[in-house]
């Protein structure tokens, strides 16, 4: 076999692998959403489940999910963003930065069921919160903390040093520079991180099952046990209660994830560094160091882009 045929065959094979990957995505999404979409009606969304979920809708699990996410974000966002600020703006000891970063990153590698065990042992039993929105939300907060810290850190690091220096040169304290210059500049990145972490928390099942319980009632306050959408889907499917409701619940989950993804993409389109590797596909806006610092304020127009390319 000569090199050209070999080349063509190999490209075909790797292309096929990518096509199958996408086909799998479409199969799973459509496999759940196609049978489920028809059952999603306002009454499904806004009535609570009856007879174990066989009848009625998903109002209670939907409300429980929102409450759980609210508690998780309310706790994790300040702590996570604070940690990121401390690491990037204040802390000077390199080893301590490395240590704290390592600790939060390790948290990201912990399996969700272990978070569940921890939440159960600490929040449910030790702190006597029982199966409740509090326990579940705090457990979720721990789970999403690493994402928030990492994305906020990246966002703060991406702020051009000139912003920092300029603010300080004008006599601002570090706190003023931070709240008036750095945080606003880094905000899209930080918000994206929060949204992505919500995406993870929406679908979390094991940890929520162990800490918030699976009571089907509408949670009236944060001390009530609650069943999230994901847990609801698990119970409907695993106990064979109602396939139809399970499809519809799964579809709602998928829609939520798609929305979260779209929102995150819209908020921040991070130029993926190191993607332009072939000289002929280079774009000046994301490649040359010179233009990097100005992308914040002025994007090169298509015309200037082609002019730039012609000059090279």
């Amino acid at each position: 076999m000569n090199a050209a045929t070999h080349e063509r065959l190999a490209r075909l094979l790797v292309g096929a692998a990518a096509a199958i990957t996408i086909a799998l995505l479409v199969t799973v999404v459509m496999g759940v959403a196609a049978p489920g979409a028809a059952h999603i009606t306002p009454s499904f969304l806004f009535t609570s489940p009856r007879s174990m979920g066989r009848e009625g809708g998903i109002a209670a699990p939907l409300a429980a999910t929102v409450l759980l996410l609210g508690v998780a974000l309310a706790v994790a966002a300040p702590v996570g963003i604070g940690t990121a600020i401390w690491l990037t703006e204040y802390l000077r000891q390199r080893w301590l930065v490395a240590f704290i970063t390592f600790a939060t990153e390790s948290l990201a590698g912990v399996p969700s069921i272990v978070f569940g065990l921890f939440g159960f042992a600490v929040f449910v039993l030790r702190f006597r919160m029982g199966w409740s929105v509090w326990s579940g939300g705090l457990t979720l907060a721990l789970m999403i903390l690493p994402t928030i810290v990492r994305t906020a850190q990246e966002a703060l690091r991406a702020v051009p040093p000139g912003y920092r220096e300029g603010a300080l040169a004008l006599g601002a304290t570090r706190w003023q520079a931070l709240t008036r210059m750095l945080l606003p500049a880094a905000w899209p990145g930080i918000a994206t991180g929060m949204i992505l972490s919500v995406g993870r928390a929406v679908g979390e099942t094991a940890a929520v099952l162990l800490t918030a319980g699976s009571a089907l009632g509408m949670p009236r306050h944060l001390g009530d046990p609650a069943r999230s959408l994901a847990v609801h889907l698990y119970i409907l499917a695993a106990e064979g209660i109602s396939l139809e409701k399970a499809y519809a619940t799964g579809t709602v989950l998928i829609i939520l994830i798609v929305l979260v993804n779209a929102l995150a993409n819209r908020l921040a389109r991070p130029p993926r560094a190191g993607k332009e590797r072939w000289p002929w596909s280079r774009r000046p806006s994301s490649n040359s160091k010179k233009s990097k610092s100005v992308t914040m304020t002025c994007r090169p127009s298509p015309a200037s882009r082609s002019a730039f390319r012609a000059r090279r």
């Binding site: 690491l87 948290l107 679908g203 698990y234």
Partner: protein, 298 residues
């Protein structure tokens, strides 16, 4: 840096300095909290499982072949085997498909198409595991039941589902690893007259090896820790499987299934299971870190 701080205007000077101190304390406190999380989790899970491990002994717990909470016999070897087998299946499936897909995305795909595929993969990563589990339960389990003599709840089913679930990890991390190879390598190989495929196989993949290994190990870590999709399709029988079509129970499944009603010794045994699982995933993550950090030759 410190020298510029106190020069705020007269009127807001004191307030600003107070704010500075308070802010510092709050920020340090939140960092302590975030860093302490992993320690507290390790300690609590370990402490909760410790009494049982003391009583039965580490080795007996890990190598015991019988799990019988009713009679107080706790051995998790079948569950360890279950986790390992299902993870291996996932790696075969996920890497067999994910690595070539990553190669395509990194080097051969048209730019627009690559962008679209990346978005799709990102979405694939975001879909909750319980949705994968549900889909597999309704489609894959009956399919496997038809082609085999078993119930359809099996090692193979679990492996396939987990393989699909780790695809995004494998694809995006491997693509990053290949993309991270310096352009000189690529250009040099092409200048020497290699085709792009030859460049990929002889230059880029060897150069990206450490990153690829790290990607695969991280994916394995995710597969070991996955819970919901696995318990929905593997059948959860705490016995050694004798074929790919036999049901198994994983470490994660063991905890998730029995925690709700466990008490006393039984509950301690589940925490001990969690500790073993935790050590498993931690060592995989550390291994991936070590592999990823290794310098490329050249």
């Amino acid at each position: 840096m410190a020298a510029v701080e106190p020069r705020a205007s007269q009127s807001s000077g004191r307030g600003a300095r107070h704010a500075e101190v308070v802010a510092k304390i709050l920020l340090a406190a939140s960092a302590t909290l975030a860093a302490g999380g992993i320690l507290v989790i390790t300690l609590f899970v370990a402490a909760s499982g410790w009494p049982l491990l003391q009583q039965t002994g580490w080795w007996a717990f890990v190598s015991g072949r019988v799990w019988s909470p009713g009679t107080g016999v706790f051995g998790i070897l079948p569950m360890i085997a279950g986790s390992v087998l299902v993870t291996l299946g996932a790696l075969v499936f996920g890497c067999g498909l994910g690595l070539p897909a990553a190669i395509y995305l990194a080097e051969f795909a048209p730019r627009r198409l690559a962008g679209a595929v990346r978005q799709g993969v990102q979405l694939l990563a975001g879909i909750p595991s319980v949705v994968y589990g549900f889909y597999a339960l309704t489609v894959l389990v009956p399919l496997i039941r038809r082609v085999s003599s078993g119930s359809g709840y099996s090692v193979l089913t679990g492996g396939i589902v987990l393989g699909v679930m780790i695809l995004p990890t494998v694809v995006s991390l491997s693509e990053d690893a290949i993309a991270g190879v310096p352009a000189e390598h690529r250009l040099g190989a092409l200048a020497l007259g290699a085709t792009r495929w030859q460049t990929m196989v002889r230059v880029l993949l060897p150069a990206a090896r450490s990153g690829l290994v790290a990607a695969i190990i991280l994916a394995a870590g995710r597969a070991v820790g996955e819970t919901m999709a696995v318990i929905m399709v593997t059948g959860n029988v705490a016995r050694f499987p004798s074929s790919l079509f036999d049901p198994v129970r994983t470490l994660t499944g063991n905890i998730a299934l029995e925690m709700a009603y466990a008490a006393g010794e039984h509950q301690e045994a589940l925490f001990a299971t969690g500790l073993v699982l935790f050590l498993f995933t931690m060592s995989l993550n550390l291994l991936a870190r070590a592999a990823g950090r290794r310098k490329r030759p050249g």
